[in-house]
Amino acid sequence: MTMATTEPASLKLVYFAWVRERVGLTDETVTPPAGTATIADLVRWLKSRGEGYELAFENESIVRAAIDQTHAKPATTIAGAREIAFFPPMTGG
């Protein structure tokens, strides 16, 4: 067995509602820097990428995340994730 590569994998990010509007994109494919282990790490890195991201995540505790279409918490590991979504609290129903 070979060890999983330590190279950060490319990741699809998707955004919804006002998070999408502030980031200015519906989706993008990114390669986060090595050491990006959790949702919180990913958010920290995204916030360094520009004003739109900073605005979208200015109140980090409000923005929700999902990993491969399942709700995730800030401390959830992103290892092996293919698609990570960021969105405001839900208002359906």
């Binding site: 919804f16 279409q69 979504a85 208002t91 359906g92």
Partner: protein, 154 residues
């Protein structure tokens, strides 16, 4: 019993959905349905626009429906949620729960709606009556509280 979950742009017919759920099961004694409609907030709104996360919307509602099916002895369960532009008076969401007795059907429908509001990835944006685009609807703490009460040991 496999819950039926549908995410769709088009409207739904409550009577038809109820008939489909009960038609081949004569041991159903109770059917509870809930329909959520778009209201105009006393004339302020022209429409609500519902954005959703395709794929996750289906998956998340299916997870909540499966929890309901595990918690109550149900004969049938339906959840339909629309997306797109929905005008005042139009239907947004439908939940139907069927069981032998009423209590289970009432509770399962209530549970499904409470969790659907806080967990299903949908977002409402207001279109105002004066033709301008309004803001995103903010999530209510009440909805979180409503979902929370099901966490208590019953």
């Amino acid at each position: 019993m496999t819950p039926l979950v549908r995410i769709q742009r088009e409207d739904f017919d409550i009577g038809a959905e109820m008939a489909a759920l009960t038609s081949d099961n004569t041991n159903i004694g109770a059917v509870v349905s809930f329909a959520g409609l778009c209201r105009d907030e006393s004339g302020r709104l022209a429409a609500l626009e519902l954005e959703h996360y395709p794929g996750m919307a289906e998956a998340e509602i299916a997870r909540v429906a499966a929890e309901a099916a595990e918690r109550w002895p149900l004969s049938g369960l339906v959840a339909i949620h629309r997306y797109g532009l929905i005008r005042p008076g139009e239907q947004i969401v439908l939940v139907i729960a069927a069981s032998s007795h009423r209590r289970e059907a009432f509770e399962a429908a209530d549970f499904l709606m409470d969790y659907l509001k806080t967990r299903a990835p949908f977002w409402k944006r207001e279109h105002l009556a004066d033709g301008t685009l309004g803001g995103w609807v903010e999530a209510k703490a009440d909805d979180d509280d409503a979902a929370q009460r099901w966490e208590q040991v019953s």
